[in-house]
Each structure stands twice: as structure tokens, then as C-alpha cells.
């Protein structure tokens, strides 16, 4: 019964992969920290007048160069949260916080 209850609580999370938008403008990532869960998608949109990129070397995340007006979609995998930056403008920094699944994940 307890397992069923936990499963019921966890199901909406599994079903509802969300999409998060990060705007790149005025030499900033906004929001600077995006809170996501595995399976979600993050869309970075370059609204600035300069080329930027999204690079989290430790997490193996790399958008390549994004010209003004371009977007880049990234599907979040399970794993550690990571910091990223624009290697072209290294003072531009952001972070992806990945939620951990509950310790007692349901088993079927």
C-alpha cells in the first residue's frame, strides 16, 4: 500500500517532462539557475546581438556557437547538477540544478 502511494505521488513527475527556457541577452543567462529533473528539456534562446554558446565541459554539454536569434534544445539526463558558461564570454555563467529522484523509487 505504501509502495502504491509513493508510486502514485511519483507518477505525475514521470509523466510531465517540462520545458524550461533560458534567455541569453545582455551578456547574461536568465534565469541564471534553472531547476530541472531528468527528462526535462531546456531551451536556450540567444536574443543578444552577439554569438554565444552554452558549455558545461565537466558534464559534456556543448551547444556549439549560437548566432543571434538561434535556440538550442537540451534534454536533461540523470546525473549531477552542473555549472556552464559561454566560452566566448567567460564571465557569462549559469547553472543547471538537476533534481534527484526520491530515495525509495517505486519498483514494479
Amino acid at each position: 500500500m505504501k509502495t502504491l502511494l509513493i508510486a502514485a505521488l511519483w507518477l505525475p513527475l514521470l509523466a510531465g517532462a517540462a520545458e524550461h527556457r533560458v534567455v541569453i541577452d545582455a551578456m547574461q543567462f536568465s534565469p541564471q539557475v534553472v531547476e530541472v529533473k531528468p527528462g526535462d528539456t531546456i531551451v536556450w534562446e540567444n536574443r543578444d546581438m552577439f554569438v554565444h554558446n552554452v558549455t558545461g565541459a565537466a558534464a559534456g554539454v556543448s551547444s556549439g556557437d549560437l548566432a543571434p536569434g538561434k535556440t538550442w534544445r537540451y534534454k536533461v539526463r540523470a546525473g549531477a547538477s552542473f555549472d556552464y558558461l559561454c566560452t566566448l564570454h567567460p564571465t557569462m555563467k549559469g547553472r543547471v540544478d538537476i533534481a534527484k529522484p526520491p530515495k525509495h523509487a517505486p519498483t514494479r
Partner: protein, 173 residues
Amino acid sequence: MNKTTPLILSSLLALGLLSPAHAAGPNDAQIAAIVVAANTVDIDAGKLAEKKAHDKDVRAFARRMVADHSGVNKQAVALVQKLHVTPEENDTSKSLTQGGATTRTRLEGLSGKAFDKAYVDNEVTYHETVLDALDKTLIPNASNAELKALLVKVRPAFVEHLEHAKHIQAELK
């Protein structure tokens, strides 16, 4: 007086004319010419550094300066064409161009680490001075809303470039 002082002086001289000598403030056509001259000076210095810089971070920074400041100039030229404004050369834009040429001549005579240091030191001073000019002269005096918006829009790039240059300056020491 250290070796970089003449470079810094020439930059300051060029942009220093923006404040006290122009009590009335430049008009939009003059601002357009100042913006184009300021960006061109940094593009030209960047092109030289792309070829001559010793350190890979300095070369990457120079490449970025050429790309970003070319982008600003492209937008500025497109805007003045749309607004039917003809950039009007003035004492400030002419001094900027002349100061840029003086800086390039001095940089051309340097090599290796001395070049890197002189280029980066000059970039720090240049971006500080342009930011000061943007805040005190160019943005307050721009009367056309789109021109003012463009200046406001490019300001964060000058802040980022300044911080980036300061970081490299610290690394080179």
C-alpha cells in the same frame, strides 16, 4: 613611467575629449561617428593581436573583440541608414581614430609577452574609458530613441569585455 603609459595616455586623450570639451554634448550624427570610430579602433587593434599575440587566451580575446565590435558596428550602420542619419565626423571621432593609429604603431613595435601585456593593458583602459563615455556622454545625449536603445543594448558587452580583459591581465602577471 612604464612602457604601457603612452598607450594608455593616447586612449585617454582620445576619449577624454568627450567630456569637458563638449559641454553641449554631441548630436546623434556625431554620436554615430563616435560609436563607429570607437569600435573600429578596437577591431583594428584586435586584428593586429590575432596575428601577433603570444598567449592563446590573448589571441582568443582578440578574435572575440574583432567579432563583437564588428557586430556592434554592423548594427550601428544599419540603424543610421534606417534613420537616414549621416555620421558626422567630429573632434572626438577624429581623436579616437588618431589615438587608435598611435596605439597600433606602438603595438607593432612590440612582440611576445611585451606585446600581450601592452595589448591587454590597453584593452582594459579602452573599455573603461568607453564605458565612462557611454554613461556620461553618449547615452545621455542620444536623442533618437532607437539610437539610445542600441547604446544601452551594447553596454553590457563593454562590461563583459572589460571583466574578461582584467581577468587575462591578472593571469599575465
